[in-house]
Symmetry: C2
Subunit: 115 residues, 2 copies
DNA sequence: TCAGTATTTAACAATCGTGTTATTTAACAC
DNA sequence: GTGTTAAATAACACGATTGTTAAATACTGA
């Protein structure tokens, strides 16, 4: 498949369980057991969610005795943020007003800043 | 199922074809035929991608003779943007520096703004 | 009404995603 | 070594996703 990074990030984030895991990790690293506790699903299921998050680069795993602490890595979210930003003008009222204002300026300032 | 809105948005965006459709629509509305043209897949496949985007609230469809013009609706991206923003401090260097700076201020200004 | 165009829906196949339980691996402690 | 704990992997089931082609629907225009 060779899926692109942004698709990997988005499909990893599409699952509510995985987003909850990230939220927990934003408060600090955690073991797989600790991550499993809040959910009604088994540890193997969480382990697979972690694998998805790891392949998307959203978490990193280290090793400490029989624990594998999991840490958040938010770097891929930077790319997502910049992707979303390209659409901000389509929903943001301030952006819309700014566009209209600039358009007015463009055609000879009839409603420009100094009347 | 009753999937939450953010999950719907994210899984809709996880597909590269659907993101390409949105990008095309950011330049203006288009018919299904026009949206199909750039891709190597059939029109029914595109029609179903559009249904996914519509259910996520990312596009709206109107009716004009035998055409069903499709329009971008970026509103759901606002929620996504604000979700991502909550993690900005985890990747943004400026945020990290600001955090460190504020922490210094907090513990008695040893490395504060005036030395 | 009939033919043509645009689009959706139906029926099907193949693959993917997510959960389960059972088993295996790895590290600790005695 | 044995036993315990933490986690991953295997094997499986099941439903969702995504594509296909063929048929149905909706509108236009003579």
């Amino acid at each position: 498949m060779t899926t692109d990074a942004l698709s990997l990030t988005l499909s990893a984030l599409a699952d509510p369980t995985r987003r909850a895991i990230l939220q927990r990790l934003s408060e600090g690293e955690a073991s797989v057991s600790e991550l499993t506790a809040p959910f009604a699903i088994s540890m193997p299921a969480i382990s697979r969610h972690l694998k998805v998050l790891e392949q998307a680069g959203l978490v990193a795993r280290t090793r400490h005795a029989q624990w594998r602490p999991v840490q958040l890595n938010a770097a891929p979210l930077a790319e997502l943020a910049s992707w979303v930003e390209r659409y901000r003008r389509h929903w943001d009222q301030n952006f819309a007003r700014m566009d209209a204002y600039l358009a007015e300026l463009q055609k000879g300032n009839p409603n420009g800043p100094k009347q």
